[in-house]
Symmetry: C2
Subunit: 509 residues, 2 copies
C-alpha cells in the first residue's frame, strides 16, 4: 500500500530526526509518542489519510520504527480519544473522521456573528459601543520600536523578574498542601498582614488586615467598586483626563459620568460643588493620571468634605505612589479620611511588572464584607503560592530594598528625561508630572491634537514610539499631549529617543 509506505517513511524520518537533533528527555517516551501522534494526526486532519483508512497494526509499526509497542499504542490511544481513529476488535484501527471535515460541515463559524448582537446584555452592548477605545487602550499588537516611550510598566522588569522568580521558587519548595487548603477570598492572611504593615509604613494607610482584599490587580478593584456601588444612571465623578481602565468599567455599569477637570494641583474640587449627588469619585491623588499633578493637601481636605457631605465613596487609585522623587510626600486620602468613605487601591504592577497580577484594596469596614463577596463571585481567590511569595518579599524587607533600588534608577531616568526635553525641545513644550512615577505628560501647545497620527508616523520612521494622551480624555483637548513613559528606557535611550523625537517634530512643523 502506497500511503502506508509513505507514512512509514515519514515516521522513520521523524524518528531519526528525534535521535539526531532533539536531546533525549528522561520522560518516558513522551516526546517520541507525541511525534508519532502528531505525524499521524496531521495527515488525518489534512485528509492524507482519509476516513476508512486502516492504520498499520501497532506491533508492526513499533518494529518498523524500532520503538516499544506501548509507544505506538499510546499515540493510537490519543488519536482514538480525539475521535480521529477507532479500533474495531479483530479488524484493526481505522481513521473515522477528520477535524477538517467536522469544521467544514459547520460552515464558516463567523456566519452567526451578527446574529448574537441582540443576545448581549445592556452592559455588554455599552462595552461594544466603547470598544474602539477599549481595544486601542493597550495596544499589545503593535510592533516594537527601539525608543518606545510607552507607559504602564514598572521600573525594571529584568530585576523584578529575577527577584520574583527567586521568591516563587523558594516559597514553592516550602509550600505544603495544608497551606493551600481553605483559602480565603479576601487573600492569604499572611499577605494581608504584611500589606497592612507595608502600606502603613510606606503610604500612611491606616487599616486592619481584615480591611484588605487581595485582588488580581487594581483593574479588578475598579470593576468591583463599580459593581458594588453603581446602578445604571447613577452619577460617578472621574478626573478629566483619566485612566482608560475606568471608562470600560463605567460603560459596563451604565453610570452617568461627571468629569472634573484637573490643573497643576490635581482634581479641581471647587467644580464639584454643584454636583449634589455622586455614588463614587475616582481619583489619583499621588500622581494624577496622566497629567502627573499631585493633589494638594487643601484639595484633599476639600474633597473629603465634599464626599462626606454627599455620602459619596472615594476610590483612591494609588497606582505609583511609592515612586516619589521630589518634595515631601503628602498623606494619602485614606489616612486623612475619618468617615470611612475611602477605598484605597494599589498593585504590584509598577513595583514589579504588570503581568504579575497582584493588587489590593483597602476597604472601609462597612463595605468590606460585600466587597469580599463580590470578589468571590467574580473569580473566587488569588493563587496562594504567589500571595505567599509576595508576603515573604515584604516581610523580609526585600520589597523596601527593591523599591529603593528602582526609585534610585528611576530618578536618574526622570532627570535624563527632564534634561533631554529641556535641551532638545526647550520652550516649544511643557513637561508636567515629573515629581513622581514612571511617566510624564508632554504638552505641545503649538500643535493641534489631530496632527498626532502624522507625528507618530514621523517618530516611527525614527524608531521612536509615542503615545497620545487623547485616549484618556472624554473631550479632546485642542493641543497635542503625549504620555511619555520612561520606565523601560535607559538614560542613553531616553536621550537618543528625545533627540530623534525632536527631529520628527521638526519635519511636521
Amino acid at each position: 500500500m502506497d500511503w502506508l509506505e509513505k507514512k512509514l517513511q515519514y515516521l522513520e524520518f521523524l524518528w531519526y530526526q528525534y535521535h539526531m537533533k532533539i536531546p533525549v528527555k528522561n520522560e518516558r517516551g513522551g516526546p517520541l509518542n507525541r511525534q508519532i501522534y502528531e505525524g499521524l494526526r496531521n495527515d488525518i486532519v489534512k485528509g492524507i489519510l482519509p476516513a476508512g483508512t486502516r492504520l498499520l497494526p501497532s506491533r508492526a509499526l513499533a518494529e518498523e520504527l524500532g520503538v516499544s509497542r506501548n509507544t505506538v499504542l499510546f499515540a493510537y490511544e490519543q488519536l482514538a480519544a480525539e475521535g480521529l481513529v477507532e479500533t474495531r476488535t479483530g479488524a484493526g484501527t481505522f481513521v473515522v473522521q477528520t477535524l477538517a471535515a467536522v469544521r467544514s460541515e459547520r460552515g464558516s463559524p463567523r456566519e452567526g456573528a451578527d446574529g448574537m448582537a441582540e443576545h448581549l446584555s445592556a452592559a455588554a452592548q455599552r462595552i461594544v459601543q466603547t470598544s474602539a477605545s477599549v481595544t486601542t487602550e493597550w495596544d499589545w499588537r503593535s510592533a516594537p520600536v527601539r525608543y518606545d516611550f510607552r507607559h504602564g510598566e514598572g521600573g525594571d522588569e529584568r530585576l523584578s523578574l529575577r527577584v520574583w522568580t527567586r521568591l516563587l521558587a523558594r516559597r514553592a519548595r516550602s509550600l505544603s498542601t495544608d497551606t493551600l487548603a481553605h483559602p480565603s477570598p479576601a487573600g492569604a492572611p499572611a499577605l494581608r498582614e504584611e500589606l497592612a504593615n507595608y502600606l502603613a509604613r510606606s503610604r500612611g494607610v491606616v487599616c486592619h488586615p481584615e480591611q484588605i482584599v487581595v485582588t488580581h490587580g487594581s483593574q479588578q478593584v475598579i470593576d468591583i467598586c463599580m459593581r458594588l456601588l453603581v446602578d445604571p444612571g447613577d452619577p460617578v465623578v472621574v478626573e478629566e483626563p483619566h485612566y482608560r481602565g475606568y471608562s470600560m468599567c463605567l460603560a459596563a455599569s451604565g453610570a452617568k459620568v461627571l468629569r472634573a477637570p484637573v490643573d497643576e494641583q490635581g482634581i479641581m474640587v471647587n467644580v464639584l460643588k454643584d454636583v449634589s449627588r455622586a455614588k463614587i469619585a475616582c481619583v489619583t491623588p499621588s500622581h494624577q493620571f496622566p497629567t502627573g499633578a499631585v493633589l494638594s493637601l487643601a484639595r484633599r481636605m476639600e474633597l473629603l468634605n465634599w464626599a462626606s457631605q454627599r455620602g459619596a465613596v472615594i476610590l483612591e487609585d494609588d497606582y505609583d505612589g511609592e515612586f516619589r522623587y521630589a518634595g515631601r510626600p503628602i498623606q494619602c486620602l485614606q489616612s486623612l479620611d475619618h468617615s470611612g468613605l475611602v477605598i484605597y487601591a494599589g498593585s504590584a504592577s509598577k513595583m514589579m511588572f504588570p503581568s504579575l497580577r497582584i493588587g489590593w484594596a483597602v476597604v472601609p469596614e462597612s463595605l468590606v464584607e460585600t466587597f469580599r463577596q463580590l470578589r468571590f463571585l467574580t473569580d473566587r481567590i488569588s493563587a496562594t503560592l504567589e500571595q505567599l511569595a509576595f508576603a515573604d518579599f515584604i516581610r523580609e524587607g526585600a520589597l523596601d530594598r527593591h523599591i529603593r533600588r528602582i526609585r534610585k534608577r528611576q530618578r536618574r531616568r526622570r532627570d535624563a528625561l527632564v534634561e533631554a526635553v529641556h535641551r532638545e525641545l526647550g520652550s516649544r513644550v511643557e513637561l508636567l508630572g515629573t515629581s513622581a512615577g514612571f511617566h510624564a505628560l508632554l504638552r505641545l501647545p503649538d500643535l493641534a491634537s489631530d496632527r498626532f497620527p502624522l507625528l507618530r508616523e514621523a517618530c516611527k520612521q525614527r524608531n521612536v514610539g509615542i503615545h497620545s494622551a487623547l485616549r484618556h480624555y472624554d473631550k479632546a483637548p485642542a493641543h497635542m499631549e503625549l504620555v511619555l513613559g520612561y520606565a523601560s528606557l535607559s538614560e542613553e535611550n531616553i536621550n537618543a529617543g528625545i533627540g530623534r523625537f525632536r527631529e520628527a517634530l521638526d519635519t511636521i512643523g
Copy 2:
C-alpha cells in the same frame, strides 16, 4: 529616664535573641533593623512610648546595642516614614502620634456599617440578600477533621504541587522580559494553542485557539457569561440542584431563575419545552453537579435543539470531565453544537489544585471579542509566567501523564467508597454519580433533610466531616443528601470514615 532604660533592655533582649536563636541572614542588616523597628513601633502604638517622647540619639542606641549606626537610622527612618516619629533638626527624634490614637480618634470603624447599605448598587444588595448561602458555600473557617469528605479539591494536591512548582521554576529560569511584554487579555498565545490541542484530544472540543480565553478559573467564566448576556429580569435556566457559584452570579445579574430538575440521565430537557425564552442555560453534562448524572446523548441533542430554536446560549461547565471511570465518554455539547451557541468552561482546579487559578472558556466566534473585552475590564490579564508554565506542561505531554496517574488513583478511591458504602450502609442509602469525578451523592431516603445538623454533629464527634447537598438546592429536598468528596482521602481513610459515618448514623436513628 525610666522608659529609656526599659527600652534599651528590651532592645538588648531582642539583640541577644537575634544572635542566639535566629540564624544570621546574609541580607544586609535586614532582620536586625526590623527587630529594632518593630520593638519601637510596638511600644509607640501601644502608648508605652507616648507622643512627645524623645528617642535615644541613633549613635548612642547603636553603641548600646553594638550595631552600626546605619542599622538604627534605618529603623528610625521607617518609623518616620510611617509618621510615628519625627526628626527635628538639632533636637532629636520624637514620637509624634500613635496609630492607636489615630484609630481611637475615629471611633469604632463598625459604627458606619449600616449607613452604607443605602449606597450599595442593586446588584450588591441582591448579593447581600443571598450572602448566607454565599459565605457558607465554601467554609474556609471550619476546623479540620481527619475524615473530611469535603469536595472541591483535585486528585492529589501533593503530587500536583510538586509537578507545578517544578514547571514554574523551570519556566521562570528561561523567562525573558520580552515574553512578559504586551500580554493579550485572551491569554498567552502559546497556552491557547496548547489548550486547543488538549481540549480536542481529551474532550473532543472543536475550536480555533482564537476562541479560547484564559481566565482565573471557571467561576470567572460564569460571571463573565452572566454579564455578557443577562439583564435584570432575563430568564436563565439552571439545573436543580446546581453548583452554588451560579447562585451568586445570578443574584448579581438579577436574572429570573428557571430551575430544571435533574434525574439519572441529567437535566430533564422535556420540562424546558414550556420555557419560551431564556438567555442562557447553565449545565454540567459530563458529571452533573452535585448528583453526578451523565447527560445522555439523546438529551444532549434535545437540549441543543431547544437552545437553537430559542437563541439561548448554553454554558457547558466541564469542571471534572477528564476523570471518567466507567462507560464510554460522550461527546461534549460543544463538539455537537453546529449553531455556535455553546460556551465551554473548564479549569485546572481539579486536575491540579484549586488555588492555582487557571481556567478557560471556549467561546463561539460571534461572542468571543465581547467576552474578551469583558475579561479585560474585569481584571485585564492572567499572570504570564503561570500561563507559560501550564503551556509547557501540556506541550510535553506531562498533563496527560499527570491526569492518567490521578485518574488511576481516583478510580481506586472511588472503588473503595462504593465498597465501603455498600458494606456499611447497604440498602439504607443510594450512592449516585460514581462514574466520574471526585465526589458522589449519598441519598438517605429515610432521613429528613432538616436532621442534617444533628448528623453533622454526631459525625464531627467521630472526626468525620460531612457536607449537605442542601445548599445546592433552591428548593430543599424532603430527604437528606450528602455530597461525598473523596479526592483528598486515602482508601484506608475512606473505609474508616464511612465506618465511623455509619456509627454516627446509628446514633441518630
